[in-house]
Symmetry: C2
């Protein structure tokens, strides 16, 4: 736990089959005008929309809807939503959906009372909000991003081929989030496993750095083991409540600032994946899956002790009579086998990436410090080519 | 993660060598009158007192002191402190010390504006506060109880031979806690390892229950491995900053409500240990250590699968060609070896418990449901006798 840090996570979580019941209580804390933000309408099919509307109505809220939030929410959509929120004079933004919807809600929350150009302010200059922030509450229906308990907001600018995340401070975190694992049951298998890999990647982005004996690394190994265990069950039976609930809880704790404490991070798999998505609009978790194997094979030598530890502690590789390199590589092989078993996309070509897009994607890839190896642009291209 | 629950932990933590610097900022949030609560004066010897006074003075606070908080704070001391806090019209209680001091500060915080008898209200009837709560901030100088980020307050009534904990809700949690691992360097070895075992016991009290695959169990295995790893280092070299910082962080997360989520618990080792302390005034962690081995040997058969998992995942017992019982017992043997290695008290007689006290201690022991075995009074006596 080297270094100085502050930990504060004020988000209130309601978890379980009956957690929506707490929405009544929470609504009392906010004004009358609620901007209800959601995606393509799956919440209308599975009945969640009706339940939420009923609760809002019995609490005498004025409901303003902002729907159609897409999987990679665009800055154009944010501009529209800001206008809608202003007209509604909204006192609360209630996001019903997955990470994209909650990320989008946060972007609105810091923009409705902001006079500046919000793309430039938040996603180019990465400034903190200087205006009043509209509170956000969330009802989670898809698991992965951890957006329900953090300040992350990822917005895409397709005209600039940019998918950029701003990590806002605690004042932008959702005030409350409602986590009912059953609300995730109707998510298609492809989206479910993409979410699972997103969680796994969040943990690994924070795990693969430093050489100290940080408590955070031990917590992450526990989260990884729980995730892999439950993912294998959910892959066979998506309606297994216990598995889905463990996955949901793991997702929240994988990216709510806790396991990053005392660590440095480069988030390079996300940098690669987000660049791929900015070109292809592919599902976030799948972009991460498709580049991970090539990336980790490029960097494991620079963090060999940790990759060895990963193999032994997470994938139960027996270290007897093996070199550190053999152990590390066996761990990566087992990780690959796990990924294939749950049906993740292992090649960029399956996300419609073609050879001629590599240079452009590499140009859009941020290269960060904080991990085991600061990539060169040439290495980024190699990793992308090997991922094809 | 079966069941429904709410997770909310509003305490703000400042961690690291420079964390006291944030006290200035926090003090701005509170009124002028600060009740400074501390223990026997060790903070005057190690310089922490002077640093805190300097910061309070430069923020123009009126300082009212309440010192002499004992390791097992008594209800009589609480009554005195309440009077002191009332006279001071205190706006903030600043607790500088270990868990006892912070527990005591919380007892004051819910009592200063309370007209009822506080022993009866909080420690017999276990009611929630109905009065204004004075905010508490803490500066931690001894590690173990997790009181810096939870609502626990354990108070002793020697005349009734009762040591009782009330777990208050989030409105009683410290508003902020300052965790500088260096502030724990001067704690004597005996107290350091007692604190380490207190942490270990907190985790085990929550780990040994249920048969489901709860994410919390995986997180606890990570915390246990980190704790054991760092404890062995700190035992050899108490000035190892990294080890002490990992222990400090583990203590906070072992008992801030997180790892209890989705679990049932009986806290039976604490029930036994607290009854011992009510008769002997012995150091908390040592009372837990002295009864643990006998207790776990009494209950492991009722939770064999979990004790087997504990042996393999925490103590790396090789399960090959062994029965579940052999694996579980080998785990407990390794646990015992670890405890002996760091110098814990393994027998009640070393805490001045004698045979003739057994019946009385057994009478003072609460017996709870929620673990693998609800003890009979006879079993409580057997465990205490075997622990002698």
């Amino acid at each position: 736990m080297l270094g100085n840090f502050m930990y504060w996570n004020p988000t209130k979580l309601y978890f379980g089959k009956d957690s929506l019941n707490f929405l009544d209580e929470e609504l009392k804390n906010y004004g009358d005008n609620v901007l209800l933000v959601y995606g393509g309408g799956s919440i209308k099919k599975n009945g969640i929309y009706d339940k939420v509307i009923e609760i809002l109505k019995r609490n005498h809220k004025n409901i303003f809807e902002d729907n159609g939030v897409m999987p990679n929410p665009t800055i154009e959509k944010v501009y529209e939503g800001v206008e809608r929120g202003r007209k509604a004079k909204c006192d609360l933004i209630l996001a019903v959906g997955g990470g994209s919807v909650i990320d989008y809600a946060k972007a609105l929350s810091v923009s409705i009372h902001c006079d500046e150009d919000i793309w430039e302010k938040y996603f180019v200059r990465f400034e903190e909000p200087t205006c009043e922030i509209v509170p956000v509450g969330s009802i989670l229906t898809m698991v992965g991003t951890g957006s329900e308990m953090n300040g992350g907001s990822v917005i895409t600018n397709f005209s600039k081929h940019m998918k950029v995340g701003h990590v806002f401070k605690e004042n932008v975190f959702p005030k409350f989030s409602i986590l009912n694992p059953e609300f995730t049951f109707t998510v298609p298998h492809y989206q479910m496993v993409a979410g699972i890999y997103d969680i796994m990647s969040h943990i690994l982005e924070q795990y693969f750095s430093d050489t100290d004996d940080n408590t955070s690394d031990y917590i992450m190994e526990g989260l990884l083991k729980s995730l892999i265990h439950s993912a294998l069950i959910a892959n066979e039976n998506p309606l297994d409540y216990e598995a889905r609930s463990n996955i949901m809880w793991t997702a929240t704790w994988a990216l709510n600032t806790l396991v990053a404490k005392g660590k440095t991070t480069d988030w390079e798999v996300h940098m690669l994946g987000q660049a791929v998505a900015a070109y292809t609009d592919a599902t976030h978790g799948m972009t991460l899956a498709a580049v991970s194997m090539a990336y980790y094979h490029h960097i494991y030598k620079y963090g060999l002790a940790k990759f060895k530890r990963y193999a032994i502690n997470v994938f139960s590789v027996d270290p007897k009579n093996k070199t550190d390199e053999e152990i590390a590589l066996e761990g990566l092989e087992r990780m690959k086998a796990f990924m294939e078993k749950i049906g993740l996309v292992m090649h960029l070509k399956d996300l419609k990436v073609t050879e001629d897009m590599i240079d452009g994607i590499a140009d859009s890839t941020f290269i960060n410090e904080g991990g085991y190896k600061v990539l060169t642009k040439e290495e980024v291209k190699e990793i992308l080519r090997e991922s094809l």
